[in-house]
């Protein structure tokens, strides 16, 4: 392929020719150039489009809400994010929790087990098939953005039925302080 075709046409006058050595074209420079360009394009290209996580926040407008649905305590989990990637969660209301505030960490051996356990608990307290755990995420001022993405990721992994990001209350901040997580 890369050799020049020097074979005789055949049928022209000179019948006997000494067989010439077939001269190959030196491709080294061309290949060098090609690889240089490949490298250039590989480095300047963004091959993968950035990934994204859709996030819908509850509407903040203070319009009077009619017939708002009450959430049963058994299905309401609140996750507080403190400093140093620590989590404090409780089930039910803060004053009268069904499961008292528990400290945990991120990851599959931490908060995921709790979420799964609480999902199972929530499923027991509902008759509808599509209803499960409702998680209220409240990050304190000591949390980082990574913590938020991690916990949202956890929601996606565990297929939590409903979750929202809420504002942390004074009592909850105090609770975090008490536990040394703020």
């Amino acid at each position: 392929m890369a050799e020049l075709n020097t074979g005789g046409g055949g049928g022209d006058g000179k019948k006997v020719r000494s067989k010439k050595s077939n001269p190959g074209v030196d491709l080294t420079a061309m290949v060098d150039l090609a690889f240089l360009l490949i490298t250039f394009f590989m480095l300047t290209t963004t091959l993968s489009k950035p990934q994204s996580m859709p996030l819908a926040m509850p509407d903040k407008t203070k319009e009077p809400v009619e017939n708002d649905t009450k959430i049963p305590e058994e299905r309401m989990m609140t996750v507080l994010i403190g400093k140093d990637n620590k989590i404090l969660w409780y089930l039910g209301q803060l004053k009268t929790p069904i499961i008292a505030p528990t400290e945990t960490v991120f990851g599959k051996n931490g908060v995921r087990k709790d979420i799964l356990k609480n999902t199972a608990y929530a499923k027991k307290h509902t008759t509808k098939e599509d209803e499960g755990l409702i998680v209220n995420i409240k990050a304190s001022d000591a949390a980082s953005y990574k913590n938020l993405v991690d916990i949202l990721d956890e929601m996606a992994i565990n297929k939590v039925q409903l979750y929202a990001i809420g504002d942390i209350t004074k009592e909850e901040t105090d609770l975090l302080k008490e536990k040394g997580l703020y």
């Binding site: 890369a2 963004t46 990934q51 859709p54 903040k60 599959k108 949390a143 996606a156």
Partner: protein, 205 residues
């Protein structure tokens, strides 16, 4: 040698064809990882970059000019044709409004020098991020409104594209309060749905 040459050129053609040049960003950030693998829409997304407590805004190219026009009208700033052209070619920016003319007068390479742009003010006293986002959304709406009037797009498409999608690209180490402030700014103008740009999580999470 022949085979190598063939492969090299095959790869070369592939990269040339799929290439979209990496745009220089005034603030490179390290996004947190997630397992969600939804892709960001390719166009029509305004990106708010958050890093080191600084905020930068990237407006989609097709509405950059009209956004600057609108912001200029609101804030009583006049821009020249050259400045509009320069703004259209600026990928992301992060300077207060009073410095925007100075920024546009610079060469593109100077603009994206790390640490040169200090971010758009977004505190409650001087909240320029709200202005930019609001005007970009209105500019986007005007574009698709016009297309809807002309019958180029259906009402359904307008519903999808009419409201400018906003993506937040935050640094993993960024404090939550900074991102929360940006989210609050978006929510104040009833923008309750947006994207968080993340990287791919590869380790066993």
């Amino acid at each position: 040698m022949t085979a190598m040459c063939d492969v090299a050129f095959l790869l070369l053609s592939f990269f040339v064809m799929t290439a979209t040049a990496k745009q220089p960003e005034p603030k490179p950030v390290d996004t947190p990882a997630s397992t969600v693998i939804d892709k960001l829409p390719e166009e029509g997304v305004g990106t708010i970059t958050v890093g080191d407590k600084q905020v930068f805004f990237t407006i989609p190219r097709n509405i950059r000019r009209s956004t600057l026009e609108r912001v200029g009208t609101e804030k009583g700033l006049k821009f020249t044709e050259g400045e509009y052209k320069a703004f259209e070619n600026t990928e992301g920016f992060g300077v207060p409004l009073n410095q925007i003319k100075g920024l546009l007068a610079l060469k593109p390479a100077q603009r994206t020098e790390p640490g040169f742009q200090k971010g758009i003010p977004y505190d409650s006293i001087n909240d320029q991020l709200t202005v930019w986002v609001k005007q970009a959304r209105e500019a986007n709406k005007a574009v698709y409104d016009a297309q809807l009037q002309e019958g180029k797009i259906t009402a359904e498409e307008f519903g999808k594209k009419g409201d400018l999608a906003i993506a937040i690209k935050g640094d993993a180490k960024e404090d939550f309060i900074t991102v929360k402030r940006v989210i609050d700014i978006l929510q104040e103008q009833k923008k309750n749905k947006f994207f968080l740009i993340t990287g791919l999580r590869n380790e066993d999470f």
